[in-house]
């Protein structure tokens, strides 16, 4: 699969927005990562923000330092150069423990049931059914079986959007709530469209709610080892593997979080898009070997 030429469009006088593809694909995401990584390395004077997203990216700049036409020319040149580059990524793979079907998101679902497509099911039961799974157990196995790419970080501070690294036919898709909720528990594992999201803070939301992780992913106080470097943990390009845990393991993890001793399993990894596309299942197995090796 190939994607066409990017579409460049202004976001006022301070931004250029670049749509790499109208539809979501790993190829579009990777092209965006390649371009934004190369652009960041060039340290173009006047550029203040470089924001990769799922299938697009945007740049914010000071037009008093660099004229928008000059900025546009640089972005087009970087696209042309990045198009020839090997789509490899030096990144990390992270295991995120998840208590699926947890009491807190289930309680929240009940409070907003009239805003849901199927008020008689839980979000998990609904998602399992419309995606063709026989039961919730099989659905959770698929959800936590194959790894995910963090394809965008944002909406609010530190919130990752993730895209599962499987063929399109196996992508899990669900609609968002009919009307957004006014509340979502902090660290909810949500899903909308083809994207997973972990709610980094409590707040409004429209994604279906499948579970909760004990692992803080945004903390301005930076108390835990993996947040010492920066208050927001996730970066675009991270690879995530969910691990289904039970209530006892969840409670134990929360105790460790309170004690400041909780840590995540994180391993460096080099990702090759070409090798992945040749045999996704085999490549994902090799990624998990890296995650679980020492």
């Amino acid at each position: 699969m190939t994607i066409g030429t990017a579409r460049y469009t202004p976001g006022g006088d301070e931004h250029i927005f670049v749509e790499l593809s109208e539809e979501m694909s790993l190829e579009a995401f990777f092209k965006g990562m390649a371009i934004t990584t190369a652009l960041a390395q060039q340290k173009v004077p006047g550029v203040t923000e470089i924001c990769p997203a799922n299938a697009s990216y945007q740049v914010r700049f000071d037009p008093d330092v660099i004229h928008p036409d000059a900025m546009l020319a640089i972005l087009k040149r970087v696209e042309a150069e990045a198009g020839n580059a090997e789509l490899d990524l030096d990144t990390r793979i992270v295991e995120i423990p998840v208590l699926f079907d947890d009491p807190w998101t289930n309680e929240t679902q009940l409070r907003f049931r009239e805003r849901h497509q199927d008020p008689t099911s839980t979000d998990l039961q609904y998602a399992a059914r419309i995606n063709g799974y026989a039961n919730v157990t099989d659905f959770i196995a698929a959800y936590s079986g194959s790894p995910w790419f963090v394809s965008m970080v944002g909406f609010v501070a530190g919130l990752p959007f993730m895209f599962q690294m499987v063929e399109r036919a196996r992508q899990i898709e669900v609609p968002k709530y009919l009307r957004p909720r006014t509340d979502t528990p902090k660290l909810t594992i949500g899903h909308g469209g083809c994207f997973n999201a972990i709610y980094s803070v409590r707040g409004a939301g429209g994604y279906q709610m499948f579970g909760i992780t004990p692992a803080p992913i945004f903390d301005p106080a930076q108390g835990l080892p993996y947040l010492k470097h920066f208050m927001a943990f996730f970066r675009p390009g991270d690879i995530v593997k969910f691990k289904s845990i039970d209530r006892a393991a969840y409670d134990a993890a929360l105790d460790q979080v309170a004690a400041g001793s909780f840590d995540l399993r994180i391993r460096p990894v080099k990702f090759s898009l070409k090798q992945f596309l040749a045999d996704p299942a085999a490549y994902n197995r090799s990624l998990l070997e890296v995650l679980h090796g020492n």
């Binding site: 006022g12 301070e14 944002g154 609010v156």
Partner: protein, 324 residues
């Protein structure tokens, strides 16, 4: 040097020029919504123009100054009172230790800036003292003020003196009907031609949901998006796109109903098509719009936007010269 918060006002926070460079992980600029009035307040009291100030929304606070201070109030028309006696806006005024500063109701505009000589002394987080409410960091404990809070201020600069005054022609205009210049772009092509034209014809009213994150407008005719087979991952509504980054000032129209302009505490991305962007020179105007103020959107091109930006810079230079 300290200030005690007796009453916090509706939404009073510490803000400065903003936090640049972290939008890629969802941490927005923050900072004073009306950057022009914020700079004017600092210059009046002899501060560096980027010093941290108090931003007040719609209803001002009541503050007890524990030390002598020089302060200035700019932006919306919100007259300060020293121990109950009316004082001037747009002027550096002396406050004696122990005095209570309160404010008259906001007559025009939506945001007032209170600068104190020496600046508000809160920790610098990621390069800024600005409050980011959704992330609960920056400013004073990452939140708006509550009664009983005690704020520290820095040492007053040598140039601080009472009596310095903002010339009337350099004050922020506060009209109840505002023209906002918009560069079409982003997903503008997703609107039907007739609908795109109506967006610029109608008069829109600021909805009650107008805050530092975004300004919602209503009372214009609903917008229609061109029907299409939605792309994979975009969501089912024709106003949906594959989740993408939102520029500051970008206008999204969820479901085609009410346009929302994102401001300096913006959510950094999402799945609603943006149809254009308010030009940088007009972002301060949005900050001064109260609910029920009216807006007309005026379509402009890049050259017009850059000329307006240059005009704004020139006006800031005049301000700096006048308040030297």
């Amino acid at each position: 040097m300290a200030i005690e918060v007796i009453k916090p006002g509706l939404a009073t926070t510490v803000q400065d020029a903003g936090r640049v460079g972290y939008y890629n992980v969802g941490i927005p600029l923050s900072g004073a919504l009306d950057q022009y009035s914020f700079r004017a307040a600092n210059l009046l009291v002899g501060n560096d123009e980027n010093a941290a100030v108090l931003e007040c929304s719609l209803l001002g606070p009541e503050l007890r100054f524990l030390d002598d201070a020089i302060i200035a109030v700019t932006g919306s028309t919100m007259t300060p009172k020293l121990d109950g006696t009316l004082a001037a806006t747009g002027e550096a005024i002396a406050v004696r230790a122990g005095a209570v500063v309160s404010f008259d109701f906001m007559r025009a505009g939506a945001r007032a800036y209170i600068a104190v000589a020496g600046g508000i002394d809160v920790p610098v987080v990621l390069g800024s003292r600005s409050t980011y409410g959704l992330g609960a960091f920056g400013g004073f404990l990452g939140r708006k003020f509550a009664a009983g809070d005690v704020l520290k201020t820095g040492p007053a600069p040598a140039g601080a003196r009472a009596g310095r005054r903002l010339p009337a022609e350099l004050a922020m205009p506060l009209p109840k009907e505002v023209e906002l210049r918009v560069m079409p772009g982003l997903y503008y092509h997703r609107l039907t031609e007739a609908s795109a034209a109506r967006f610029f014809e109608d008069t829109w009213t600021v909805a009650p949901e107008a805050d530092r994150i975004g300004y919602r407008y209503r009372n214009g005719r609903p917008l229609e998006f061109c029907p299409r087979q939605q792309p994979f991952g975009a969501g089912s509504d024709p106003s949906n796109i594959v989740d993408a980054g939102y520029p500051y000032g970008s206008i999204q129209v969820p479901g085609g109903v009410e346009p929302i302009i994102l401001h300096r505490d913006a959510v950094s991305g999402g799945g609603y098509a943006m149809i254009g962007t308010v030009i940088s020179a007009d972002m301060d105007r949005i900050a001064q719009m109260q609910p029920n103020y009216k807006a007309r959107f005026v379509k402009v091109d890049l050259d017009t936007a850059l000329a307006a930006r240059a005009d704004r810079q020139q006006r800031l230079d005049q301000l700096r010269a006048a308040l030297r």
